[in-house]
């Protein structure tokens, strides 16, 4: 284990320190006293590297990351997993807006709530197929312009005065799948998406991801699975195909 005290360290220096540790073949890196440093894990490629963060990391955590695992033992801010290619991010707390922005591969697990626009323009291609599991509730515009990948929303922190998600759900969605535990008010959906039942194949995927989620956060798997899941999918792969040019 290689420890770095991040207290008062400027984000560029901290990220350079991390890269240097990796160059020196450290695989298990622990950062202490992190407070708002941007871009931690940005662009890192090594699949065997694990970075544990104590404190609140700054925006764009794991941006362009392609392999490592990041564990956050606190809340995370905006833009985690921005354009991430591969690897895993686990947040033991809440995350901010635009989680998994344009994410292209790998996995993100968030224990509690996320802000607005989770998985905006998340995408997939062949073997690149990202998965995001959100344990709590989500803000509005979830899955906006989503083009691929899997988003699972569990709503475990849901209360009477705390909605599962917000309006403009899946606006402009044209690929990928959103699975929501306990159903969703169809009025939240914009015109481009519909709510249907998941297939048997898809339930297997949900079960395996929820299992991993429950193992990470020490949550009773059976309790999570006691509610039905619904699937939100796009009606078409080109929702705006005829917006400007009248189609045939």
């Amino acid at each position: 284990m290689y420890e770095i005290d991040a207290r008062g360290v400027y984000y560029r220096d901290l990220n350079e320190n991390i890269r240097e540790a990796i160059r020196n073949h450290h695989k298990d890196i622990v950062l202490h006293n992190v407070c708002g440093q941007y871009y931690i894990g940005c662009g890192l490629n090594d699949k065997d590297v694990k970075i544990t963060i104590n404190g609140v990391p700054g925006n764009d955590l794991g941006a362009f990351m392609n392999g490592p695992t990041i564990i956050v033992n606190d809340d995370a801010q905006d833009g985690i997993g921005n354009t991430m290619n591969g690897g895993k991010i686990v947040v033991y707390g809440n995350a901010g807006d635009v989680v998994a922005y344009s994410m292209r591969g790998g996995k993100i697990f968030i224990e509690k709530d996320v802000g607005y626009r989770a998985c905006i323009h998340m995408k997939a291609y062949k073997e690149m197929n990202p998965t995001v599991v959100i344990g709590g509730c989500s803000g509005a515009f979830m899955g906006e312009y989503m083009a691929g990948g899997t988003l699972i929303l569990l709503g475990l922190t849901r209360k009477d005065d705390k909605p599962l998600t917000g309006v403009y759900l899946a606006t402009g969605m044209h690929g990928g799948k959103i699975f929501i535990r306990g159903g969703v008010d169809e009025r939240l959906l914009w015109k481009e998406a519909v709510v249907v039942d998941p297939t048997k194949e898809e339930m297997k995927k949900i079960e395996s991801e929820v299992k991993e989620f429950c193992n990470l956060f020490k949550i009773d798997y059976n309790k999570v699975m006691d509610k039905e899941f619904v699937k939100v999918v796009p009606k078409s792969t080109r929702p705006y195909g005829h917006l400007y040019i009248p189609g045939p």
Binding site: C35, Y38, D75
Partner: protein, 375 residues
């Protein structure tokens, strides 16, 4: 070539002790400086409430002058218009750049010498009197700008990074029960001393991250009520709209939030009849006061602080509480940097106001009166 990235986007922060305990400026400077990279050195500022307890009955005018000529012209005007209890240069430390001069005046309206003037500047309407005075100076006296004009509060702002501006104005030496701060990344308006945030009028102060795309519409709306937008920056309209809607129209703050960031028509459709009627009426009557475009703002006012996002939440805002302290900031880390072990961390929804007020006892302690006003 060195690759560099500008992490654009202003930063805002603020906190209030709802028991009215006054805290030095060190914490707010630390919080906003942690988000230094959200600005680019072209503007920073602070507003502080409760800093002038010895002059709490007087309007504290913080005035920025380009030169001595502007100061003379303004002081001549002030002497004609108001009783000046005390005045002087604002305490500053040296700064290595060309900068305006700053003076503070503690004033009260006084009887005007002519009948015409007394009708225009009515002594029994003190807030309106000071409002007209501020508008006159900002519009008509070249090189003079009133950057704040409330009682027992003040604004400190200029061109620079937050730590630089804080050091210049000796912000660490003031004690306030409520502080707000701004770190600027100007996008489409100039980075000049008067264009730094907070924007302030009477008790109102506003720090803002984002862009008020409706600036032109808001400006024209405000002009109908005598507000002159002279600071070349969109955020100015927010301070004036607050003054218009709360002080003049008597609207409660949570309704003002729904005027600034109204629900979309499609959301109104799903409301029950009573709400539908209310929100339709607000949109119809106060269309000119709606703020379009992305924003998160922290508003300081006499006795409280409130935070608000635009209606589709295009800018960040985090609220937290620890005991009787309420914090707001663009990034959670800025709050955690000055207050650990928070009781509660919350991300407000789009258009959802978060309002933190002094307790009744604290309000009386700070302002010496039981009756609340917001300016």
């Amino acid at each position: 070539m060195e690759l560099a990235k500008d992490i654009s986007g202003c930063g805002i922060a603020g906190f209030i002790n709802t028991d009215g305990e006054r805290i030095s400026g060190v914490d707010i400077v630390d919080a906003i400086t942690l988000m230094k990279d959200r600005g680019n050195g072209l503007g920073a500022g602070f507003s502080a409430y409760g800093i002038y307890p010895d002059f709490k009955e007087f309007y504290a005018l913080h005035i920025m002058y380009d030169d001595e000529h502007a100061r003379k012209a303004t002081e001549e005007y002030l002497e004609r218009k108001v009783h000046i209890e005390q005045h002087g240069g604002m305490p500053t430390r040296p700064i290595k750049k060309k900068r305006p001069i700053f003076f503070v005046y503690f004033v009260q309206p006084r009887e005007q010498s002519t009948k015409g003037e007394s009708e225009e500047f009515r002594i029994e309407e003190a807030d309106e009197f000071i409002f007209k005075l501020v508008m006159f100076i900002n519009e008509n006296i070249d090189g003079a700008f009133v950057i704040s004009s409330g009682k027992n509060m003040g604004v400190f702002k200029g061109v620079g990074f937050p730590d630089e501006i804080a050091n210049f104005f000796r912000v660490d030496e003031y004690k306030a029960y409520c502080w707000t701060a701004h770190n600027r990344f100007p996008t489409n308006t100039p980075g000049w001393w008067g264009g730094a945030h907070p924007f302030s009028l009477l008790g109102w102060s506003v720090v803002h991250n984002g862009e008020i795309s409706s600036y032109g519409a808001n400006k024209r709306y405000l002009e109908m009520y005598g507000y002159k937008c002279t600071q070349k920056t969109d955020t100015e309209v927010v301070a004036y709209l607050l003054d218009l809607l709360v002080r003049k129209h008597g609207l409660p703050m949570h309704i003002v939030a729904k005027i600034f960031a109204p629900p979309l028509w499609s959301e109104i459709e799903y409301m029950d009849e009573k709400d539908k009627e209310l929100y339709k009426a607000l949109r119809m009557v106060y269309g000119g006061a709606m703020l379009n475009g992305p924003f998160s703002i922290i508003v300081g006012f006499r006795g409280g602080m409130f935070g608000l996002n635009d209606r589709i939440k295009l800018r960040p805002l985090i609220v937290a509480r620890k005991g009787s302290n309420v914090y707001m900031a663009s990034e959670e880390s800025a709050i955690r940097y000055i207050a650990d072990d928070l009781d509660e961390v919350y991300m407000p929804k789009a258009g959802e106001p978060v309002i933190a007020m002094l307790t009744d006892e604290a309000y009386e302690k700070v302002y010496g009166s039981k009756e609340r006003t917001y300016v």
